[in-house]
Amino acid sequence: MTETLDVETEVPEKASQEGEMYTWHEGMEWNPVERIILERRSVRKYKDKQVPEKLVRRILEAGRFAPSAGNSQPWKFIVVRDREMIEDMEKYVRLRCKVLKFMLNWQTSPLGKFAWLYSQMGARLMPNLMHPIPFGATALIADGKLKLFHGAPTVILILMDTRGAAKPPVDVGICGQNMILAAHSLGLGTCWVGFVEVFKFGTKWNKKLGVQWPYRLVEGIALGYPVAKPDGMIERELQEVDWWEDGRKRTVF
């Protein structure tokens, strides 16, 4: 007599392969796109080696095909690969940051209490720009401890067409993120540089770069080969998400 053994065989889940795309099953490894998104870190130290022109052109293509409201494409790119020009920009922004630090940083400013008053007023008028982080960065740039483009050999400036459909600032952000993810997938490092906005406190660069109505300079992207290996997964705070389903609300993290 033979007994049939009831052996529980583990049904192997579909073996997960690296590089799987356009599909999902439980326990799947990160696909290449997810990996680029999760591992991408801001790079703040670049090698001197210039980025090949073709590579920059390829990255710009990723920006060109970004989605935008009503396909309005409210952006214009300026590529700067001239080292002297980049250094000039850095000097210019550093001088402006020195003035801002003098006016607003009550800890170091000879204006003392007045600087404190200006900063409190400024924070109410421009709460985003006077957030403690950019406020601290202004002082670091003024002291020469933080370089505007972190010594990157190539800089892409993004101009926003203010006449764009619906929400051009959002479209510009999407476009920039496209380029940044493409750049990291191609082995480059990038960093968003919002401090280029300081150019608006003067005419020199607006004139030289042709920033005029309807355009506004909103963001810069530093581009280059990173020193060491800055990309990698890190810990970050979970986000509290309100989840509505079956007529009730749950909170998930």
Partner: protein, 110 residues
């Protein structure tokens, strides 16, 4: 209920006052750290420095009540030896109070 009280909404924190908020903080495992200095090189807030000679060359966080650490965790990403990571994330309180965040966690593969 409002997410911020009236007082919180109208008070701009004084950034250098530890009672108003907290800055980011990192913990460094000195057993693992070999003082290569990559993290100090890329720190956007200029919060890290390397000190010591030879075997005792280690990375430290600057001794300041309010360092410019923005808890970006780039130092953790660049560290080959898994010796540094952010332990406290920044929260400046009052007007800039951080809302609706949880614990620190790595990307979760659902």
């Amino acid at each position: 209920m409002a997410y911020l009280t009236f007082k919180e909404r109208t008070t701009i924190p004084t950034y250098d006052n530890p009672e108003h908020g907290t800055s980011g903080r990192v913990v460094i495992d000195h057993e693992r750290c070999n003082g290569c200095g990559n993290c100090a090189l890329i720190c956007p807030g200029d919060c890290l420095y390397v000190a010591g000679v030879g075997k005792h060359k280690k990375c430290y966080m600057i001794d300041k009540a309010f360092p410019d650490c923005m808890s970006c965790n780039d130092c953790q990403a660049i560290c080959d030896r898994d010796a540094i990571r952010v332990s406290v994330t920044y929260d400046f309180g009052y007007f800039y109070k951080i809302l609706h965040r949880g614990e620190l966690a790595y990307p979760r593969n659902f």
